[in-house]
């Protein structure tokens, strides 16, 4: 009888599903207000903006991190690790890139597993040994397998739309006040309603997308640990990096994420770094707890 050591986390799946449901419900609220007041163009504009961001996510993230693609001859070790992990996971091999920065970080991005790119910084490669680096890469490849760029782009749609509308409402309140008073007297309440709904939706979706992001990090940790069979190596990599991150001057960290400031949605960026955005990641304690449970499960004697 074939046994499986893979233990699904139904609680995590349920929490993630519920978060996605709430985001969808928010979108329905915002969308119905918009359609009611004919602000359809905002929907199209934000949709198009996010579509472009999603479509070029690999190039945007690589460019902003200063990463460049490397051939197997240039980085044989990194390629060999990715080769093996992809063969274990039965997934197509993504492009492999290296960013020349001392910030210990790694990320995976791209709109589909076939168009994905995995990037490690020279800082992380210097600090981690091979097992730990493999753990980090298995975490990043799990993001690719879970299509996290697509899921998070869709999830952030509501928030970006609400943020966009809030800004537009403020601008039109500042510059368009005279026009609305000359025209229909019903103009002011419409802007007020849209602003109010947008602000509330923005606040809620901000919290929800971050919650979802944390769940997805846990899911990637879990899938990565099962892939390599070495949860403790990933745990040790996480501990090392979190310790190192605290000691690095903030200037480096800010340089590492310029495109978060560039887009007006800092909540979710289309790259999934292992440590640069603390608030989008679960606490180290939580991640280590989960990895510890997986380790115990893998070591369980065969029944």
């Amino acid at each position: 009888m074939t046994t499986s050591r893979y233990l699904p986390d139904r609680g995590l799946s349920a929490r993630m599903g519920f978060t996605i449901f709430l985001l969808g419900a928010l979108f329905v609220v915002l969308g119905s207000v918009l359609v009611y007041y004919f602000a359809f163009w905002g929907l199209v504009f934000v949709g198009g903006f996010l579509a472009v961001q999603w479509f070029f996510s690999d190039r945007i993230a690589l460019y902003s991190m200063g990463g460049h693609e490397v051939t197997p001859e240039q980085a044989p070790q990194l390629h060999a690790i990715v080769d093996r992990l992809c063969a274990l996971a039965d997934m197509p091999k993504p492009k492999v890139a290296i960013a020349d920065t001392d910030v210990p970080n790694a990320f995976a991005t791209g709109r589909s597993p076939k168009r994905a790119v995995v990037c490690a910084t020279t800082g992380i490669m210097r600090r981690l040994d091979e097992r730990e680096l493999e753990g980090v890469l298995s975490h990043e490849l799990s993001h690719v397998a879970h299509r996290d760029v697509t899921v998070m782009t869709l999830a952030s749609f509501v928030g970006v739309l609400a943020g966009f509308l809030t800004r537009m409402a403020i601008y039109s309140g500042m510059f368009g006040g005279r026009r609305s008073s000359n025209n229909d007297s019903g103009g002011a309440p419409v802007i007020l309603i849209i602003t109010l709904v947008s602000v509330i939706v923005y606040a809620l979706s901000f919290l929800l997308t971050r919650t979802l992001s944390r769940y997805r990090e846990l899911a990637a940790d879990r899938a990565g640990a099962f892939l390599t069979g070495q949860p403790s190596a990933l745990a040790s990599a996480l501990t090392k990096i979190s310790g190192e991150m605290g000691r690095i001057p903030t200037k480096d960290l800010r340089q590492a994420e310029p495109f978060n400031a560039f887009f007006f949605t800092p909540a979710v960026a289309p790259g999934f770094s292992i440590s640069s955005l603390f608030s989008t990641h679960p606490s180290l304690e939580k991640r280590l707890d989960q990895l510890g449970r997986i380790s115990a499960e893998l070591g369980r004697p065969t029944a």
Partner: protein, 189 residues
């Protein structure tokens, strides 16, 4: 329900597909007839050992089981990437026996819940001019690819492509060339 799994961020680790491993004996005959390459009698299985007592106990039991037949002992080694290789030696003429042994290793791993840990299995061949070749079996895909090292970290791509067309009827060759990853210095090569 692939989209649902993606939405909920879960994926079941893939287990191996072992039946196609038995295509090797036919391919060995073809290689001998068309390219003059002979089996070396060496074969190996590569897997990622999981941490914890369960895996090491299973590996010890497995090695005892394989050594019980009185033939040459199975050798275990760990490569630079932390993967374990179990090397089996057989009479070069007995390719089916070698494949059966490789299959036993694979299925033992699977029966103990470590199926997803299997990376690949390979069978070694050599030509009279000293060129070496391995038929690598990607367990997760159920496909083979040829790997022919020539010198330090160089591949004899011409020979690999030659082998691909020669054995295409005996076994399923991995169509995605990006998955033909090199296994430098693998035991059994």
């Amino acid at each position: 329900m692939k989209w649902l799994d993606a939405a909920l961020g879960r994926n079941k680790p893939t287990g191996p597909d072992l039946d196609r491993l038995f295509g090797v004996p036919d391919a060995a005959i073809t290689l001998q007839v068309s390219l003059g390459m002979l089996p070396t009698g060496l074969g190996s299985v590569c897997f990622r050992a999981a941490e914890g007592a369960a895996f090491s106990t299973m590996q010890d039991d497995l090695q005892q089981l394989l050594d019980a037949d009185g033939g040459p002992k199975v050798e275990a080694s760990t490569d630079a990437y932390g993967f374990t290789w179990l090397l089996a030696r057989h009479d070069p003429a007995d390719v089916p026996g070698l494949v059966t042994e490789l299959h036993a290793v694979n299925s033992t791993l699977q029966d103990n819940g470590f199926g997803p840990a299997v990376l690949c299995s390979l069978v070694g061949f050599t030509a009279s001019d000293g060129r070496r070749l391995a038929l690598v079996y990607l367990s997760k895909r159920g496909t083979f690819y040829p790997f022919a090292p020539s010198g330090a970290e160089q591949r004899d791509t011409a020979l690999e492509l030659q082998v691909r067309s020669a054995v295409a009827e005996d076994m399923r060759i991995e169509p995605d060339l990006a998955r033909w990853f090199p296994v430098w210095g693998a035991p059994g090569l």
